[in-house]
Amino acid sequence: MRAYDLVELAGRNLREAILRNSLTTLGIGVGVASLVAMLSLGVGLQRLFNRQLGRSGLFDSVIVSSRQDFRGRGMQSSDSSVPPKSLDDAARKTIEEMKDVVEVYPNLSAVGEFRLATGKPEESHFTVVGGLPESARSGEAFDEFQGKFFSSAQASQAIIMADFGRILLGLPDDPKAFDLKLTREQANQLLGKDIIFRYAERQSGTAAPARSAGSPLAGNSGKDLAGKDKDKDAGNKSDSPDVGDTSAFNVVRREQKLAIVGIVNSEPNRGMRSGRTSIFLPIEFAESLNMIQPGDLRNVMRMSEGKSYTALIVRVAKSKQVVQVEDQIKKLGFNTFSIVDASKGLTKAFMYLDMFLGIFGSLALAVAFLGIVNTLVMAVLERRREIGIMKAVGASDGDVKRIFFVEAGSMGALGGALGVTMGWLIGRVINLGANIIMVRQQVKPETLFYLPLLLVVGAMTFSILVSLFAGLYPASRAARLDPVQALRHD
């Protein structure tokens, strides 16, 4: 029997019992809709999560720290056969020269005081300052960005967080306004304006004398690396410092004028830092300021040649090369961390979530399956005589079976299409509702439900397969009918 005849006969049969078949198809539609809605929620959440992480720059980055430091959570231990090394300029250079490495920059974080240049000194605010490379420009934080990015990596410019902008403007503290954009008027009051940044500079190269009176902030007291008490030795040795020991440094208070060029309402490269940073400087400029960083005190305890870093961020050309670069760095004797390590577990977690949602969504489809079986068994009973006639005029058992299969498949295809549309609509409506609530709560709207083409095709295919499976028994029952008995049937 030709395909178009099969389709025509099946279509005609479906039309003959249109109400019953429509209800069965609707049942399949509801089943598929529930499956699609559940899975598109799973996919949407995973996508949202991945996008947030991906835009944070973590997927193509490796955080490198010295094995001498405390191992952070999730840190991958270096090759234990290689002795630990200091994360200094030499190490930075080696990593920079590695294949597939695009850029290496220090994970810079310091504290300082800021005030508008036009403000009074007592209006200063203490906060954390960080450095941003040019590559951060493509991050999600700059999607809703007011102003512009740094003109160069050496520019004495600053990008500030919107909430810190509110503090600078002296606006009342509003926890709900956290992460929200400044109004245009508020932004205009800050953009292009100068701020005064007061920070502690680390002066290396020449160690300051013990209890130096020259610097109110400075100190090189206590023990040096040799374990000698400088106070006790003061009588035996001169006060001149050990010039070869680079662990000794002075701390000098500095002031720097910065121009505010941009305002962001979410933190750029958020995943790279543990605390909250309110002000960002161009990375090279920030490095040149030589600000005291939390790890500097720790570095005093160990010998290193030149400047050493608490952590370096290594950006890789493609995320799939992260593991390879990570391995190379570990072989050098450093600890590494990348989101690839963490995301393995998360991918698994999302897989379980999708599976759970899929099973939950499939329950309705299981009910629809029984509906199809019922409808087709009824059709076989009702059309016994017709089946007998068809066999008498030349239909083979296979022809009869195929007619019922096409009927089942058609209901599956129609139900699948209906279900995908309904599932998509359900997702849109819930998404809309959720976003209305999110906006009211002053949270940025997000796409929670996402329906990829693969899910559309998958759901349609699944629906047709389930329907064909449901049609197996009725179709074979119809095919097995004895034509003589069937023709006698009233």
Binding site: M1, R2, D5, L9, R12, E16, R385, E386, G388, I389, M390, K391, A392, V393, G394, A395, S396, D397, G398, D399, D482, P483, V484, L487
Partner: protein, 243 residues
């Protein structure tokens, strides 16, 4: 005018047996029947109810399988054919007409006549020509769009006849074709069958319990009783066709 066929064999049955189980009892519906028909022959199977006429017809139609014996058509034994080959046989070799017409009630006359050609995979264009030709032969080309419920019994049987003819079968099997019709309409249908038998040289096997009908149209009469052939006779008193 006597119609005894052209001498070439259309089919033959050899010691055909078909028993049915009814509870503990075994009913010998067909019990060792051996008959033969020549091409173009018009045979009437006569007998009382339960004599095995319809069972024999269903066996020749390939709708039922014998318990033993053979049904040989064109050198092939239906008893040994696969279900698919039997379906092919029903498509191309035999056409059937039933007492209760057996039209698909949800299909129009056109669709009912077209149905066997769907299974025979005849191309659409050719189908249309053949359906209209068959409907024209039975004089119902203007009723093509009507459903069986909109037609009289005689019209329905004509449509059934058109459906049986449309694949140009060699053998026409008619099971009490006038059983549900009044005498005038019955005569019209019989006239049509006889005409087809003559003009197309189609072998006709008709089951009937009306001796008069057999006397009038059949060239050979086979009498059945309790599943056995009680006797057969040639009929030289055929009265001709009245349409």
């Amino acid at each position: 005018m006597e119609n005894n066929g052209n001498g070439a064999e259309a089919f033959r049955t050899v010691s055909l047996v078909r028993h049915y189980k009814m509870g503990r009892n075994i009913i010998p519906a067909v019990d060792g029947v051996s008959i033969a028909a020549d091409r173009g022959e018009f045979i009437a199977l006569l007998g009382a109810s339960g004599s095995g006429k319809s069972t024999l017809l269903n066996l020749i139609a390939g709708l039922d399988r014998p318990d033993s014996g053979a049904i040989v058509v064109d050198g092939h034994d239906l008893a040994t054919m696969t279900p698919f080959d039997l379906a092919q046989y029903r498509r191309h070799i035999v056409g059937m007409v039933f007492q209760s017409f057996n039209l698909v009630p949800t299909m129009t006359a056109y669709e009912n006549v077209e149905l066997p050609m769907r299974f025979a995979e005849v191309r659409r264009k050719e189908r249309k020509t053949r359906v209209l030709e068959a409907l024209s032969k039975v004089g119902l080309q203007d009723r093509a769009g009507h459903r069986p419920s909109e037609m009289s019994g005689g019209e329905q049987q004509r449509i059934a006849l058109a459906r049986a003819l449309v694949n140009q079968p060699k053998i026409l099997l008619a099971d009490e074709p006038t059983g549900n019709l009044d005498s005038k309409t019955g005569a019209e249908i019989m006239g049509l069958i006889t005409e087809l038998n003559r003009t197309l040289e189609m072998t006709v096997i008709m089951v009937t319990h009306e001796r008069a009908l057999a006397d009038r149209y059949a060239g050979k009469m086979i009498f059945l009783g309790d599943g056995k052939v009680l006797g057969q006779t040639s009929n030289s008193n055929i009265q001709g066709v009245i349409v």
